[in-house]
Amino acid sequence: MGTSEHSPSSVGQDVDAVVAGFERQGYVIDRALATAIFLVTKLRKPILVEGHAGLGETELAKALASLLGTPLIRLQCYEGLDVSSAVYEWNYQKQLLAIKIEEQSKQTVEEKERHIFSREFLLERPLLQSIQFEDQSPVLLIDEIDRADEAFEAFLLELLSDFQITIPEMGTIHAKHVPYVVLTSNRSRELGDALKRRCLYQWIDYPSLEKEMRIVRTRLPGIEERLAQQVVAYVHAVRALNLSKPPGVAETLDCAEALMVLGKKQFDEQAIHETMGCISKSVEDNAKIKNAGVSTLLN
């Protein structure tokens, strides 16, 4: 596969350009991640982004796609995901109809078979779509790969090494343009070594106070500075409480947005209660936050 024949100018020649590009997309990126993304575009390797839920793993792929000006193809993984919903499936209803219609025709069985297993009857699922582009490389987001089972992981490994898919009835389809692949995982289980080795790796941690402030400002331009500071400090205090589901950046943004909608100017005890649902997602966590007391959470 040609590596550099197709590296779009918008990403540029160095890491600084990647940082600037992502900022333009409204995605606050740190240098480490930007370096990894730069390598993705240069080396054309897949990247595996791991981190707690709600830290912008999915957003990363979206931002990358719009930065490169290519389509984003998303495959959401779940338990029991199989090839027919990830790669391709035949349109059975249409095939049955076609067989009925052609019943009276003079075609031989072989001809009929060839017809109903042609592209016309093929339903392309995300993975097949991603290798079919004629003029550019799309971004392929394989979201929450840790939720899919090991069998699917093995299949994916094969796809990521050859970028070709074999359909027994039609033959093998090779990728004309190798997609940029972003895999995300929330670490609900450990992924196979083979898959991890094939990918560049990036661990996304909870952002620092300053970085999270920048994210809030970028995403919610209308927010008052003081309120934003209070919310971010509060979420950081909550993360220190060892909850079963610590709030991610998505939760910070939800909480800040909720406060704006409620018309709050000041973040106080009342506000903590009102926005509890944005931050804590279980009864036990609710109790922990309440027990921690206002003084530890707001200072």
């Binding site: 160095d14 890491v15 240098r31 480490a32 930007a34 370096t35 990894a36 730069f38 390598l39 240069k42 080396l43 390797k45 990247i47 595996l48 791991e50 338990e79 029991g80 199989d82 027919s84 499936e89 035949w90 059975y92 095939q95 049955l96 067989i99 009925k100 019943e103 069985v109 009929k112 078979e113 109903i116 840790d146 089972d149 670490r187 609900s188 289980r189 450990e190 070594d193 991890k196 080795r197 990918c199 560049l200 790796y201 990036q202 661990w203 079963s244 036990e284």
Partner: protein, 383 residues
């Protein structure tokens, strides 16, 4: 300063990077030839840039987990920044150099692994075989954990890891074969019936992928259990691989959930996380009280018909037997099967006569021993 020199001579950079890869491998990062090549590619793509970028770039290539990343930080610091002494040592002729690094590897290795369990399992099976022949294996598999010699501990741990992993694999396979066929597979059905004008006469079926049970385990870590709990924790960790949902708890006088510490980690890291738990290992026991706590807080984790409930304890309860019986009965109503593993059952003349144990017996479906490897592996048929 060093970076400047690197930009002048790209070959020097490449050599440095290869050296760094070797350095990192000696310190426990899983860096093979493939990763080294990746690192070279990455540094070439990055070109002459800041040290930061080189570091982040190498990190994304050489690491594949958060723990790797932490280790990488240390290695990188030592090699490029702090380690001027290290670096100058590397200017020496090559043969001496590698021997020197071998030795340091040994030392750091034993320092870094906190327990005898060692690293992620990839290389363990071979290691175990090299260490213990078949007869030793057999002897150790039958040995009671409580009477084990200190010297046998490490060997047994490795054998245990291997066998537990095999068991998990076997379980997975058995399930796949035994399930009955489920939905009609339209794709194959159509294919088969093209010659009959598409009339679906010969139906083809698709096997439903089996759904493993949920497993909820409670492990007693009170003082009387301490010779056993070391192995039982590893056993529970291995079981995780097989079940889709595992909730794991430890208890002595109260209950602690350790599910998140087990999830998505290697055994080594999970054990380290466990050792930092505030709950005291080897304290008193309140089985009934802990079960009550479980019922109050975590009862919703039991899905009837789908959940196996596994309790590992010797049954020495300081609380009221009636409490234990009542709470266990509540659990029993919600689960498919209650399994109680008791290490004392391995003793010849043991009778489950203690107040707690005899009160609990009517509510137990499977009552089995857990004093040695064999007995743990025998559990396979109940899972």
């Amino acid at each position: 300063m060093r970076m400047n020199r690197m930009t002048a001579q790209p070959n020097v950079t490449a050599q440095k990077i290869v050296e760094f890869c070797r350095f990192a491998r000696d310190r426990g990062l899983p860096v093979s030839v493939q990763e080294t090549l990746g690192a070279l590619e990455a540094s070439a793509a990055l070109g002459a840039t800041r040290t930061d970028d080189l570091k982040f770039g190498l990190r994304s290539v050489l690491c594949s987990s958060k723990e790797d990343c932490d280790l990488f930080e240390q290695c990188f610091e030592a090699f490029w920044n702090g380690g001027t002494r290290e670096a100058s040592a590397r200017q020496q002729p090559h043969a001496r150099d590698t021997r020197h690094s071998r030795i340091t590897r040994r030392n750091t290795h034993s320092m870094m692994s906190s327990g005898p369990s060692g690293e992620d399992g990839a290389c363990e099976p071979e290691g175990a075989q090299a260490m213990a022949g078949a007869s030793v294996c057999e002897r150790l598999a039958k040995a009671d954990f409580a009477t084990l010699q200190q010297t046998d501990m490490a060997a047994l741990e490795q054998i245990a890891l291997r066998l537990f992993r095999q068991m998990a694999r076997r379980l997975a396979r058995r399930r796949r074969i035994s399930t009955a066929s489920g939905q009609v597979d339209l794709r194959r059905t159509i294919r088969r019936n093209v010659s009959r004008g598409g009339e679906p006469i010969n139906l083809r079926f698709r096997e439903r992928r089996p759904r493993p049970h949920r497993l909820v385990t409670l492990l007693d870590i009170s003082g009387s259990m301490s010779p056993y709990s070391v192995f039982l924790v590893r056993f529970l960790f291995a079981l995780q691989k097989h079940f889709r949902h595992v909730d794991t708890f430890l208890f002595s006088t109260s209950l602690v959930e350790i599910t998140p510490m087990f999830r998505g980690r290697r055994l080594h890291d999970a054990l380290r996380a466990l050792s930092q738990l505030p709950a005291g290992w080897a304290g008193g026991t309140a089985i009934g009280g802990s079960l009550r706590e479980f019922n109050q807080l975590h009862r919703r984790k039991l899905h009837s018909g789908d959940t196996l409930f596994l309790l590992l304890s010797d049954g020495w309860d300081t609380g009221q037997p009636s409490v234990l019986a009542a709470e266990l009965a509540r659990v029993k109503r919600q689960v498919r099967r209650v399994i109680w593993l008791n290490p004392l059952l391995g003793m010849k003349d043991y009778q489950p006569l203690t107040g707690g144990m005899s009160a609990a017996l009517p509510h137990i479906d499977v009552f089995a021993a857990a004093h040695n490897l064999e007995s743990l592996l025998a559990l396979e048929k109940h899972l």
